[in-house]
């Protein structure tokens, strides 16, 4: 149960989110000198929307299309056998062969790193990418696995018990990132 009373702190507004995504798009293109062999794979659900936005920016900057996949990591979670209820499955849709591609995984928040571990295992089951990179809108720290992002929108120091929420227009809210602090 979420607490009814939570203190909410704004850390990125709509403009900050837009600028961060534009910068990440440039960084990806600079690193790869274009879009050859490049594919974006968004992690459900937030990551998928961000991947589409990045692809749109890349298209605007470079006038070339980049392919997008959508990955559901549920079946690769490491807590399936300890949870009481099975989480709802969503569909993975990667309409291209990942072998020999450079895959940029896209997620909204990087936290413990467990989701990314699951996503990498999921991708590996689909083929053998040449390289897997990671782009996140927010890195909030507290890693439990040796995982690091290649492209970061914003580093946000947090306490473990705080919650970072990424609100997106696609999910029916105004673009922003907030930290929710549990009140004592």
């Amino acid at each position: 149960m979420k607490q009814a009373q939570q203190h909410e702190k704004l850390v990125m507004d709509a403009n900050d989110v837009a600028r961060a995504l534009t910068r990440i798009a440039h960084e990806i293109l600079e690193r790869h000198k274009g879009t050859k062999n490049l594919a974006l794979v968004g992690i459900r659900t937030g990551g998928v929307h961000l991947a589409h936005r990045l692809a749109q920016r890349i298209q605007e900057i470079e006038q070339s299309q980049v392919v997008i996949g959508e990955l559901d990591i549920t079946l690769y979670r490491d807590d399936l056998s300890v949870r009481k209820d099975q989480p709802v499955l969503r569909k993975t849709s990667i309409p291209f062969n990942v072998t020999d591609l450079i895959i940029v995984l896209v997620d909204d928040v990087l936290f413990t790193g467990r989701t990314i571990r699951a996503a990498m295992d999921g991708l590996m089951d689909l083929g053998r990418p040449a390289e897997i990179q990671l782009a996140v809108l927010v890195d909030r720290g507290h890693r439990q696995l040796p995982i690091k992002a290649n492209y970061i929108g914003k580093n946000i120091p947090t306490a473990r018990d705080e919650e970072v929420r990424v609100c997106l227009e696609e999910l029916g809210e105004e673009d922003r990132v907030v930290i929710l602090k549990p009140t004592a």
């Binding site: 559901d72 549920t74 079946l75 399936l80 056998s81 499955l89 969503r90 849709s93």
Partner: protein, 306 residues
């Protein structure tokens, strides 16, 4: 939402939301089955036991593939090789299997209610893979999944189930499942094979195939169990086939684009003409493919932490 039950014993006790959840979850598993590496680690470390007291190749193989594609370990017990021939009862056999830490037991048994009795005895999850003339829930679920894949809307869908309704657990499970989702079900067969209680399940009973097929969108053929022929339920296979066999001409009576289903194994030339079984209207092999995805969905949903 998740499936809040330990076992899958029948369709009768499922509510429409649970049926929809199983079908939607199966979508994801169909995608997994289409991959080059058809395996996900979701049930790693879990043990699934197939306990089959009746001969079955299709269903057992389907459950086995489903469990293996989820990375579970699978053990198959079949009647011919088990200690049942040494006089052990079903519940004792099951207790022994449970003592080996099986997480899920898939049971097929000739006695109606066997799965339910088992589920009450053991802590493992139990999936009914057919109990006597009672139910065969995963078959009905895979039939629904196949219809849904054909973009058919269940509400108001006209379905005819043809054949030996009295001895068919497939028919019973399908009647429950289809009516729960709002389909209109007709059943048709010789009077000796239509039990009196059927109209209480909300279906329309017909005795003439041509009448029953008029305007339907789905035709589900049941297997004529030739081993029952000695019981005088019908005079001869030839007569049965003439009156209740689905031919290309009869298929014309149904709505154009109607779908023909059969749970298999088919008796070619008896309940279904070979050209119909092999026609574009037939989804018989799609049913088999979808069976694996639907069983993966059920195994996954029942395997939540114990």
């Amino acid at each position: 939402m998740s499936l809040k039950r330990k076992d899958l014993l029948n369709i009768a006790s499922l509510d429409p939301e649970e049926i929809r959840l199983i079908l939607e979850t199966a979508d994801s598993f169909k995608e997994v089955s289409g991959r080059e590496i058809k395996k996900v680690p979701a049930l790693r470390g879990k043990t699934v036991v197939n306990l089959f007291f009746e001969p079955s190749t299709r269903t057992r193989t389907s459950f086995e593939l489903a469990a293996k594609r989820l990375s579970a370990d699978v053990i198959n017990f079949s009647i011919a090789t088990s200690s049942v021939v040494k006089g052990e009862t079903l519940l004792d056999t099951a207790r022994n299997i449970e003592a080996m830490q099986a997480d899920i037991i898939v049971l097929r048994h000739p006695a109606a209610g066997a799965a339910e009795a088992l589920a009450r005895t053991v802590k493992s999850s139990v999936i009914n893979a057919g109990d006597g003339w009672h139910e065969h829930p995963t078959q009905a679920l895979l039939d629904l999944f196949t219809l849904r894949e054909k973009k058919l809307e269940f509400k108001g869908l006209q379905v005819a189930i043809v054949g030996d309704l009295a001895h068919s657990r497939v028919a019973r499970s399908n009647i429950y499942a289809l009516t729960k989702l709002g389909a209109e079900v007709r059943v048709v067969g010789p009077p000796t094979m239509i039990p009196a209680y059927l109209d209480r399940l909300g279906v329309k009973v017909y005795y003439h195939l041509d009448e029953a097929l008029r305007g339907v969108q789905v035709i589900m053929m049941l297997r004529l169990q030739l081993e029952r022929q000695g019981r005088a339920l019908f005079p001869s296979i030839r007569e049965y086939s003439r009156l209740y066999g689905l031919t290309a001409e009869r298929l014309q009576l149904a709505e154009s684009g109607a779908v023909v289903m059969h749970p298999g194994p088919i008796n070619r030339g008896v309940e279904i003409a070979p050209d119909v079984a092999d026609s574009l209207a037939s989804v018989i092999l799609a049913q088999v493919t979808n069976g694996v995805a639907v069983r993966m969905s059920v195994l996954y949903l029942l395997s939540g932490g114990n």
